[in-house]
Amino acid sequence: MKFIVAIIKPHKLDDVREALATVGIEGMTASEVKGYGRQKGQTEIYRGAEYQVNFVPKMKIEIACDDGVADRAVEAIRNAANTEKIGDGKIFVLNLENAVRVRTGETGASAL
C-alpha cells in the first residue's frame, strides 16, 4: 500500500476530494499547514512597517491507498489541484507497510 501526502492550496480541498472519489478513494485526512517554497507570502503592513510573511497557508491531505490505485490517485490530485500557478503544491508518495481499522481490527487494504 502507499501513503500519499499532498500539499495543496486550501481552496482546492473539495475539488481534490471529489477527484479522489472518482478513482474510488473515499477516505482521507486533511490538516492546515504552512508552506515555504518558491511561492512567497504576501507582505503584511503594521503601523508603517512592512513584514514579509515567509509561510503561506496550505492544506495537507494524507491518503492511504492500495498500490494499484496509487498512480491514478496521484494523477487525480494533480489535475484537481492544478491552477498552473507557483505554489500549487507537491504530492509525496511513501510506502505503507500496514493499515488497521480501529473499529474492526481489519488490516491491510480492507482497512481502508
Partner: protein, 405 residues
C-alpha cells in the same frame, strides 16, 4: 446638586472605565503575540483594581485636596469628610461621583503606559510601578492643572487631559521602553498583531468611551458637553482618514490597525482642546494628529530603534502635546473656537501651553526614571529570555489564551 449633570457624569464614569476595561486592554492585547494576550489583559485589569484603592487611600487627596499650588495634601484620604450629600466645589455634582469620575482617568493613564513594555516585563513590576507612578507622578500633575495648582493659575488650557493624561503617559512610556530594552527580534522579526479584530473592538470602545472622557469633562449636561462630543468625534474621524491616507500613499493599502491607530491619534490630539475649539478645529486637529503621529511612530521605531512596543509615546505623548499647542490657536473665536481667556492673546496662550507640556514632560520623564531605577532593585524588572520566548501568559499567570486541543 444638579440631577441632570449628575446623571450625565454617572454615565461618563461608566464610559471612561469602559475605555480601560475592556477597551484599552483589548486594543493592546490584540497587538501582541498570542502567547502574551492574557498578560496584557491582566496588566490593565490589575492596574484598574490596585490604582482604585490607591486613589481612595491617598492619590485623590493629593490631586484634589485643598492643599497648595503644588499638591492637595492628605486631608481627603479615604474620602474623609465626604458624605452622601457633599457637593464637589465648583461643580453641581456629589463629591463621591466626582471622585469616581476622576478615578477612571487615574486608571487609564498608567494603563496607557502598558503599551511600552508588553511581552517582556515582569508582572510584579507592572503593579508596583503603576501604583507608585500614580501617586508621585500623576496625582501632582492633576493638582497643577485641574486641582487649582500653578498651571491652572497660569491659564493652561487642558480640558480633558492632553497634558495630564497623554503627555505624562507618553513620556513615561518612552523612558520605560528605553530602560527595559527591546523585545527579542525587534525590530525586524517582530510578529504582526495576533488579532487585529480584537484591536478594532478595543478601539471602538475607546471611541465611544472618549465621549465620556471629553464630553464628560464638561462636568455638566449642556451645550459645552454637546460641542465637546462633536469636536471629539470629528477629530477621531479625521485621524482615521489621515492615517489611512498615509498608508495608502505608502503601500497602496489601508490597514485596519492603521485606521484605528489614526483614530487614537485624533482623539489624543483633540483631548486638551475639546473644550475650546469648534468643528473646524476638530477637523484640523484630527488630521494633524493622524499625520504627525504616523510620522513619529516610524521615526521612533525605525530611526531611534526604541521598542516603545505599542507606540504610546508616538501616539499619545505626541498627540497630546500637539493638541495642547494647537488649542492655543484654534481656541480663537475667528476659527470657531470658544475664544481666548481675557488678558490672553494667541502668543501668550501658546507660551503657557508650551510651558505646560515641557514642565510635565520633564517631570514625568525624570521621575519615571527614578522610580524604575529604585524599584528594580526590589522587584524583578524583565523576564528571562526563555520566558519571553515562550510568552508571558503561561509563565506569569499559569494560563493560555487559546485552547483548542
Amino acid at each position: 446638586m444638579n440631577g441632570a449633570d449628575t446623571a450625565w457624569i454617572l454615565t461618563s464614569t461608566a464610559l471612561v472605565l469602559f475605555m480601560t476595561l475592556p477597551g484599552l486592554a483589548l486594543f493592546y492585547a490584540g497587538l501582541v503575540r498570542a502567547q502574551n494576550v492574557l498578560s496584557v489583559l491582566m496588566n490593565c485589569f490589575a492596574i484598574a483594581a490596585t490604582v482604585s484603592v490607591v486613589w481612595l487611600v491617598v492619590a485623590y487627596s493629593i490631586a484634589f485636596g485643598e492643599g497648595n499650588a503644588w499638591w492637595g495634601g492628605l486631608g481627603t484620604s479615604f474620602l474623609s469628610g465626604v458624605g452622601l450629600d457633599t457637593i464637589r466645589a465648583d461643580t453641581t455634582l456629589p463629591e463621591t461621583l466626582f471622585f469616581m469620575f476622576q478615578m477612571t482617568f487615574a486608571i487609564i493613564t498608567p494603563a496607557l503606559i502598558v503599551g511600552a513594555y508588553v511581552e517582556r516585563i515582569h508582572f510584579a513590576f507592572v503593579v508596583a510601578f503603576s501604583l507608585v507612578w500614580v501617586v508621585i507622578v500623576y496625582a501632582p500633575v492633576v493638582h497643577w492643572v485641574w486641582g487649582g495648582g500653578f498651571l491652572s493659575e497660569m491659564g493652561l488650557i487642558d480640558f480633558a487631559g492632553g497634558v495630564v493624561v497623554h503627555v505624562t503617559a507618553g513620556v513615561s512610556a518612552l523612558v520605560l521602553a528605553i530602560m527595559l530594552g527591546k523585545r527579542r527580534g525587534f525590530p525586524n522579526e517582530i510578529q504582526p498583531p495576533h488579532n487585529p479584530g480584537m484591536v478594532m473592538i478595543g478601539a471602538s470602545m475607546l471611541w465611544i468611551g472618549w465621549f465620556g472622557f471629553n464630553a464628560g469633562s464638561a462636568l455638566a449636561a449642556d451645550g459645552a458637553a454637546g460641542m465637546a462630543m462633536t469636536v471629539t468625534h470629528i477629530s477621531a474621524a479625521a485621524g482615521v482618514i489621515a492615517w489611512s491616507a498615509m498608508e495608502l500613499m505608502k503601500y497602496r493599502k489601508a490597514s485596519l490597525v492603521g485606521a484605528v491607530t489614526g483614530m487614537v491619534a485624533g482623539l489624543a490630539t483633540i483631548t486638551p482642546a475639546s473644550g475650546s475649539v469648534g468643528p473646524i478645529g476638530g477637523l484640523v486637529l484630527g488630521l494633524a494628529g493622524g499625520i504627525v503621529c504616523f510620522t513619529i511612530t516610524q521615526f521612533v521605531k525605525q530611526r531611534l530603534k526604541i521598542d516603545d512596543s505599542l507606540d504610546v509615546f508616538a501616539v499619545h505623548g505626541i498627540g497630546g502635546a500637539l493638541g495642547t499647542l494647537l488649542a492655543a490657536i484654534f481656541v480663537s473665536a475667528a476659527l470657531g473656537g470658544a475664544g481666548l481667556a481675557e488678558g490672553m492673546d494667541t502668543g501668550s496662550q501658546l507660551g503657557v501651553q508650551a510651558l505646560g507640556v515641557v514642565v510635565v514632560a520633564i517631570w514625568s520623564g525624570v521621575l519615571t526614571f527614578v522610580i524604575a531605577t529604585v524599584l528594580k532593585m526590589f522587584v524583578p524588572f524583565r523576564v528571562k529570555l526563555e520566558t519571553e520566548v515562550q510568552g508571558l501568559d503561561l509563565a506569569m499567570h499559569g494560563e493560555r489564551g487559546y485552547h483548542n486541543l
